[in-house]
Symmetry: D2
Subunit: 340 residues, 4 copies
Amino acid sequence: MKKYSFKDDYSEGAHPEILRILTETNLTQTTGYGEDVFSDKARELIKKYTKNQEADIHFVTGGTQANLIAISSILKPHHSVIAAETAHIEVHEAGAVESTGHKINTIKTKDGKLNPGLIQKVLDAHIDEHMVKPKMVFISNSTETGLIYSLKELKELSDFCKNNNLYLYIDGARLASALTSEKNDLSLKDISELTDIFYIGGTKNGALLGEAIVINNNRLKEDFRFYMKQKGALLAKGRLIGIQFTALFNNGLYFELAKYANESAKKIAEALKKKGYEFMTEPVTNQIFPILPNKLIEKLHKKYDFYVWSEIDDEKSVVRIICSWATNEKYINAFIDEID
Amino acid sequence: MKKYSFKDDYSEGAHPEILRILTETNLTQTTGYGEDVFSDKARELIKKYTKNQEADIHFVTGGTQANLIAISSILKPHHSVIAAETAHIEVHEAGAVESTGHKINTIKTKDGKLNPGLIQKVLDAHIDEHMVKPKMVFISNSTETGLIYSLKELKELSDFCKNNNLYLYIDGARLASALTSEKNDLSLKDISELTDIFYIGGTKNGALLGEAIVINNNRLKEDFRFYMKQKGALLAKGRLIGIQFTALFNNGLYFELAKYANESAKKIAEALKKKGYEFMTEPVTNQIFPILPNKLIEKLHKKYDFYVWSEIDDEKSVVRIICSWATNEKYINAFIDEID
Amino acid sequence: MKKYSFKDDYSEGAHPEILRILTETNLTQTTGYGEDVFSDKARELIKKYTKNQEADIHFVTGGTQANLIAISSILKPHHSVIAAETAHIEVHEAGAVESTGHKINTIKTKDGKLNPGLIQKVLDAHIDEHMVKPKMVFISNSTETGLIYSLKELKELSDFCKNNNLYLYIDGARLASALTSEKNDLSLKDISELTDIFYIGGTKNGALLGEAIVINNNRLKEDFRFYMKQKGALLAKGRLIGIQFTALFNNGLYFELAKYANESAKKIAEALKKKGYEFMTEPVTNQIFPILPNKLIEKLHKKYDFYVWSEIDDEKSVVRIICSWATNEKYINAFIDEID
Amino acid sequence: MKKYSFKDDYSEGAHPEILRILTETNLTQTTGYGEDVFSDKARELIKKYTKNQEADIHFVTGGTQANLIAISSILKPHHSVIAAETAHIEVHEAGAVESTGHKINTIKTKDGKLNPGLIQKVLDAHIDEHMVKPKMVFISNSTETGLIYSLKELKELSDFCKNNNLYLYIDGARLASALTSEKNDLSLKDISELTDIFYIGGTKNGALLGEAIVINNNRLKEDFRFYMKQKGALLAKGRLIGIQFTALFNNGLYFELAKYANESAKKIAEALKKKGYEFMTEPVTNQIFPILPNKLIEKLHKKYDFYVWSEIDDEKSVVRIICSWATNEKYINAFIDEID
C-alpha cells in the first residue's frame, strides 16, 4: 500500500501496549476457552466502568460474530429484530442474522438513528401470526453514519423497549468513539443500565481482534457459552482477547485511544468546514462524512485511501474519512494541506 | 494454575517467532478482511508444501469455525456428513454442524478411524428421500484418538469418495502432529491431491489462533468468502492470522514445533511402556492415551493436569496426556519420575 | 358466521367435482407420498397446458410451504431473493424464508410489481462478500395488489434474470385469476418457458388444499423430493392433492372457476365505478381494492366481511373485496345494492 | 396396483364418514387458518378424552411436520432431543429436525423403546458447553417397531424428565393403535398428564391427512401459531383437518378404526404363530414384524405388498405387515391361506 489510508480504523495491528502484555504473559499456562485468569481480570476491569457486578461478560472475535450470537441466542424462531435500514446487520454482514433464521425489520431513517416513534410503526404493522413478532431493537453507537445517541435518547429507547416487551441491544463496534465524543453524555454505566445486552468493540480501537459482549438482563445470561461454542466463537486461547481487554481497560487506555481518533477526525473536519464544505451527518466521532467536489476527491485519492460513500449529484459526493488510534499526525496535516 | 498442564496443546500463547513478526509488522497499514499482503504471503508459503497452485486458501480463527463453514458451504440442505462417533464435530462442537441444518451420520469405529467398508454401510442404509443424502466424509488427522492415516488409507478413502460422489474433508486441527509422526508417510501434497478440502491447524501448533482452510476442488471455491463473512469469520484484521502462518511456514517452523511435541509425548509413552502400561490407542502423535491405575492417576494429578478420558474398570482408567511445542522438558522428566 | 364474506377466496370447502372424485376413488389402494397414479395423472393434465414435457411437478399443501421449499431448495446459504416490499414472502409468511436462512432484498414499488430497472438497483448495491448475493427474483401473479403481469413484462423480467444469472420464480397462489383476467395475454406455456420455477395455486381456486410446483429449469430438479420431505411437505396420502388437480385440470375446470371469480369481482367493481369510486389498483382479477368513504365501509360491514386494507385519510380507506369460484351471485347483487 | 397391500396404513383415502361430513359442510363459509368452528368443535371433542381443558390443540398436515414444529418451537439453539436410534425423526424424516438446527442424541435400544436408565447415560455424557444440551425426550407410541408403552413405563419416563428438566414428547402417528392394543393400559388422559406435548395421528387412522398437536405444558403454548405459519403448516382451509377430527372423535370412531386394524393384524399374527414363526417384536398393534423364510416371503410377494424390514440370515428375514381401518377381511384370510 503506497497511499496513506483513512479508509478504516483497522488498517494497523495493535496498540504497542497490547503487544507488550501479550509477549510478557506468553508462556504462562492458562485454562482454555475464555476461562483463564486474564479474561477474568479483563472482566473485572470492565465492570469498574459498567458498575454492574452482576453482568456477564464474554469475549468474541469480531462484530458480525458478536451480533449474530447475541441476536440468535435471544430470539425464538418467530422473533425479528428491528434495525435502521443503514444498520450493519442489515447491510454489511452477508445475511448473518437471517442465516440464523431471523428477519430484520428495517426502518427508513433520516440519519441512521432510531427512536420510539419509528419503532412504534413497525410494531403497529405486526399484529398476528402471519407476520414475524418483533422482539428486539438493534442500534449502533456510534452509528454507521458517525453519529451518537444522547443519554436522553437512549433512555427514551430503553423505556419504550421495556414498555413494549422488546430487548434493547447496542452494537458497540465503535462504542469508544461514541463515549469519547465531545457531544457525548453517556457512560458505560448508563449503557449497562439502559440496555439488555451490548458489546464493547476492541478491533476498531486498538486491539488485534476482540469484542466484549456485556449481558445485563439476567434472563439472557443462561447458557451463553453454548451459543458461542456452537457458532465457533469460543477461542481455545481465549486469553488472546482477555489479555487485550486487560491492556485496554487498565488506566483508561481504551478511552485515550478513541479520544485521539476523534480529535484527529475533528482536525480534518474543522479544516473542511473552514473551506466551506458541508457534511452528510454532523462530524462528532472518528468517522466523518464530508460532501466534497468530485475533483477534490480525485486529487485526494492520488495520495490517500478513503471510501466514496454516495453520490450527491454529478459534481459532488459524500466521502467517509476515518481516523484511529494509529492515525499519523503527519498525514493528517498533509491531507489538510491538500484541501482547496 | 499451580499444576503443570499436560491437558492440551493450547495452554500457552504463541511461539516467540510469531510474536516477533507481529510486533515487527505492527504499524504497516494493510487492507482488511484477509486481503492483506501478509495473508497473501502465507498462502504462497503454504502452497510450496501443497504444490497445488490452484488451491484457494482462507484463514479462520478456530477449528469449530473451520468445520462449520467448510461443511455448510458445501452441503445442500438435504445433505449429511459422515463421521466417526468420536469425531470432534459429533461430540465437541455443541451441535455446530446441526446448527447449520445438517445431520451427521455417525459410524461406530474401533479406533476413531473411518474406512470404505464402514462408509459403504451408511450409504447402503440411505436409499431414498425419506432419509438424508450423505454427501461428505469427515475425518480428522491426527484423529481425536491420537492416531494417523497412512497414504494407503487416505488413498482408499479418496478413491471411495470419488466413486461414490462424496466430498472428502480433513479436520487438521492437529495435522502437524500427524505429518511429523514417526509413522507418517503422508505429505501436504498428498493431502491436497486426495481431498476436496481440508484445514491446516495453527491454534494447536504454536499460533495464537488460526486455521488455514485449503480448497482443492474447484467446485467448492466459489463465493467462499461470503460463507466466512456470514458466519462471522472474516476478521477485520485478517493480517493477524496471515502473519502467523507466514511465521509458521517460513523455514518449516510448523513442522519443527509439531515434531518437538510428538517427541515429548513419545518420551512419556516410552517411560510408561517400560513400566508395562498399555494404551487405548497406539501412541504415535502428541496425544497419548495410556491406561493407568487409578492410584497412579491420583498421584500424578497432585502435580499435573490432564484428562481422565474413560474408565476401564474399578482399578484402571484411560488418561489423555498432551504435549505441545511449549511443553517444558523439565516437567516431562519430572512427570516420568513420578511413574511407578 | 352471520355475515357473508368477501374476505378471501378460501372461505368454503372444495368445488363439488373435487369431492365427487375423492369419494369415487376413495378405496383404491395407492402408493404413498405423491407417487400414486392420481398424482401422475394430474401431472400429465397440467403438462397439456404448460407444454413442457420435461418439467417436474410436485404437489404441496399451501403457498407458504411452496415458497419456502422452492426458495430454500435453490439458494445457497449466502444467496438472497429479491421481492417487492408488498410480497407475500416479505409480509405475510411469518419469516418463513428467513427461517430457512435467507435474506429477502425488498424493493419499494408503486403497485407491487417488479421490473428490470428496479431489480438492477438491488444488484448495483450488492457488490462484495460483506453483503448477501441476490440470486432469485420472486414475483406473484396475480400480485398481492390484484394486478397481473403481461407477456411483455414477464419476458423482460425473464431476459433480465437470464442475463444476470438470477432465477425467476412466480408465486401462483392466484395464478388462475391472472390467467383468466380480461387483460391477460399470458399462457401457462409462456410461464413455463419464461420462468425457472413457479407454482399453480389450488387452495384459492376450488381445492381443499394444494399447490402444484412446476420446475422448468433442469438444474433445479435434482433431489426436490428430499427438500419436500425435510420440510414436512410430503403427504403420506399424496393422492389427496393429485386427485384434486386431476379434477381441476380435466376439461379446464381450473380456468372456469377463476373466470367466474374474476367476473364476480368485476360486477362489484363496475358498480363501484358507476358510483364514481376510485381504486388503489386497477381491478382486473378476483381481488379488487376500491377506495371507499369510511361511512360506506361501516354500513357494508354490518352485513359483509372484508378487509380494510389501508387508510387514505380521515374520510376514506382502501378495502379489499375478494370473490371466488364459490361466491354466491345473490350476495354480489345484494352487496351492490348497498352501495351509495 | 395389482397386488393387495399390507405395506402401510395410508394406502386408501378416508373413512367414508369423513367424506360424508366434508361434503355436508362444504359450502359453509368459515374463517381461515384453523380458527373455524369445525376446528373448535374438534378441539372440544378431543378434550373430552384428554380431560385437560387448558390444553392447546393445533392441527397440522402430517407427522414430520408435527415433529419438526413441536421440536423446533420448544428447543433453544443449543438444545438437543434424545431419541432411540430407530426413531422416526432420526431415520425417516430426511433430517427435518437437524434442518431446524438441532442435534438428535440417539440411543441404541434393544426394541426401540426408551427408559430412564438409557436416557441418564446421555445426560451423563453431556456436561459442558462443548456439547449440546439435551432438553427433550422423544418417544413414539406405538413405536416404529410396533410396541407400546405401559402406564408404568410412561410414568417413569415422565418423572425422570421432570426431575431432569427435560420435556417429554410423544409422536402419536400411530397413537390410536397403541391405545386400542389389548396390552394397553394408557388413556389419552394419562398421556395428557404425563407429557408436555404430544400429537394424535389422523393420517394413519382414517383421515385424508391431519395430526392434532396437544400442548399440555403452559410454557410451550405461547405463540405456537407463529411457528406453524413459519413452517408452512397453517392451512388456509384449516377446516379440512378440523372437520376430519370432528368425525373421528365423535362417538369414538377413532378408537373403533384402530381396534379393527389391530385385530386384523392379530389375525395374521395368530396364524403365523400357529405355524411356529417368531417375531422381531411382540405383535401387539397394527404393525407386526414376523421372521419368515425367504421362500415364503417370495411366495407372498407375488400377491401382496409389504416391506422386508431386515435380514436375519441367508434363509430368513423380518418383514413388516400392516393392517388399517381399511384392510379388507377377504385379503386377510387369503393371505393367511398362503402361509405354509
